[in-house]
Amino acid sequence: MLYGLFIASCGIAIGSALMAITRLNASHALIYLVITLLSLAVIFFLLGAPFAAALQIVIYAGAIVVLFLFVVMMLNLGRRSVERERQWLLPGIWVIPSILAGALFVILGIALIGVENQAVIDGEMIGPRRVGAALVGPYVLAVELAGVLLLAGLVGAYHLGRRYLDERRER
């Protein structure tokens, strides 16, 4: 049961990820990305991480992808951009990257098969209580550093998003 659900969500995640990177319209690609992220949330839940699954839905699918969608809407990409995208995505362009990725897959697979690990995850839950205790316990310094990183991201996004950055350049 657990394994069947896992395989099903893996299939959905990989399929929608493939769809996401090959769409011509950015909004459609983002909707496929949401499907990938939601099936990843299911996988996290099956692996016994309910808190991570909830955060995946709330923050990734709910905040980060919505930020992407905001920008796509703001840039007002229309039918013209789909046409341009079709010119950029030439028919044979995916062949060499796919061969390289396939080679990397084989190499990683050989490394993985060599390990001979028979480990099985039984899906025992690690709840938010333990995660929170670890966050404010041994990882408290890393949490503060993550706060500094988010502040830097905020300042950087504010600076880059200002409209008068181009005007000052032209002056």
Binding site: T36, I43, V120, A134, L160
Partner: protein
């Protein structure tokens, strides 16, 4: 090879993560639109997160989920800055083609 009676083999989770990561790599290599490149980066970060969660579940430790939260914070900060860059790119060059921003000719 492995009969999965109830549990999920760790190896299969890692196979899945490798596949997802490589889809992200191919996405970065084939696309010229910045938004799709950022989208592929998100896929790759998620593949790393899957491995962290699986390792945490395997060792029955909360550390995997803690690392997942750091990846989440990293992704949020990265997306905020990168989308600011996308907006500036489209204002200055009137395109989303990443090759347009090669003025430094590195």
């Amino acid at each position: 090879m492995m009969d999965a009676t109830g549990g999920i083999p760790l190896e299969h989770v890692i196979w899945f993560a490798i596949t997802l990561f490589l889809i992200g790599v191919v996405g970065i290599l084939i696309r010229r639109n910045v938004i799709f490149i950022l989208l592929s980066l998100e896929l790759m970060m998620n593949a790393a997160a899957v491995v962290f969660i699986a390792a945490g579940a395997f060792h029955d430790q909360a550390d995997g989920q803690v690392m997942f939260m750091f990846i989440l914070a990293l992704a949020a900060a990265e997306v905020a800055v990168a989308l600011g860059l996308v907006v500036q790119l489209s204002r200055r060059f009137k395109t989303l083609d990443i090759d347009a921003a090669s003025e430094m000719t590195g």
